[in-house]
Subunit: 251 residues, 2 copies
Amino acid sequence: MPKRILISNDDGINSEGIHKLHETLKKLGEVYVVAPDRDQSAVSHSLSLFRPLRLDKVSEYVYSVDGTPTDCINLAVNGILRDKKPDLVVSGINKGENLGDDITYSGTVSAAMEGTLLGIPSIAISITGREDFNFDYALHHTDLITKYVLEKGLPKDTLLNVNIPNAPAKEIKGIMITKQGKRLYDEPIVEKVDPRGKKYYWIGGNELGFLDIENSDLVAVREGYVSVTPIGLDLTNFGHIDKLKLDLTKE
Amino acid sequence: MPKRILISNDDGINSEGIHKLHETLKKLGEVYVVAPDRDQSAVSHSLSLFRPLRLDKVSEYVYSVDGTPTDCINLAVNGILRDKKPDLVVSGINKGENLGDDITYSGTVSAAMEGTLLGIPSIAISITGREDFNFDYALHHTDLITKYVLEKGLPKDTLLNVNIPNAPAKEIKGIMITKQGKRLYDEPIVEKVDPRGKKYYWIGGNELGFLDIENSDLVAVREGYVSVTPIGLDLTNFGHIDKLKLDLTKE
């Protein structure tokens, strides 16, 4: 039985990253593309519950949706592929890294999160940098990690967040298994005035660097490694339960 | 020094839940309200990076924003309150519970997440049910838990997700410190046809119940307790790191 792979992203269906991903994964199985019709970066794990969604069939196995990455995965798994559950969800290849706390904002990671919630092994793949992305650089490790997950699976409720340096594969030092790191931000709000004299605001976000945490995703990428972080969906901070019990309950 | 409290929500600035929260917390300090100008449920941790935001001053200390709950907290902390960092962020009181995996979609929890990322102790508060909410029921525990966090603080990178049964305080059995539970969903996509003959889709979501996990948030609320879950921002599944190292690296 050929494997069935569902791919999506948050940069939109016309992004070069998803085309390259599609070409590469086609060799591994039957690939469905269900992706937003436009850029949905930083939409996080939004689900459109209060408005209907439009679905356009672009070509055989390829669909665009006027919604978020999470909508795309939900509509694909519970709709288009209702009787053909995918073996794997892959989200990407995202233009720019998803590292540290930023993953809580990431549409790329959220698509993989939705796949995981629906019981399907899922991977989010990003290439680092701000511009001049060469997605071909990322294909070697994309292929390798995808094959690994297709063969070995992932624990329940766990996805892989993969970040690949924007550099030729031969310059990449290898794969590092990492934990989520921590960026330092200065986030000034930028105030502007519109042509009618009314103020408006931009959310800023100047990166000031990041904490030098050993084996963190941010450090791995800086050192020239592919970062692979296992991400869980249970957000409970178990270490703080006893203290709260002591303070807030009569146990 | 009186404490400075920032409140927000995802139901929008006209929701009764945020008005009741405001009235209650006013007794504890100087309260700023910065909330979305309309319902933003299920927007998750979205940040508006690609469009400007409008800010309206509704009255002294009260502002509405044409953005998400995360935008509101960011704009408040980095803009309106740039030189007056709040001591506490409280998000709510949300119409309806935020339990189990649903917290990854929740705008209410995301506002508290943004507060936490910005280094401020943060609480998300929801009242259970689907309709006939009586926010007055929730005020006793809201007051109690808010006072506790103002006094004792929270660990770095940890927020409290509080869910209060929609029942008179005297019927509530107490506070239970919980972990994130797991719902069981059937999520059929509902297909419709518009007046011009074109198909469109609704994301469904029939709850089939939830896993009976001891000390989980879902069980606590079913048993008539206020559920308080400490939620962390490090999503790393540490338990899977060694296996991945073995399989994907040469260590």
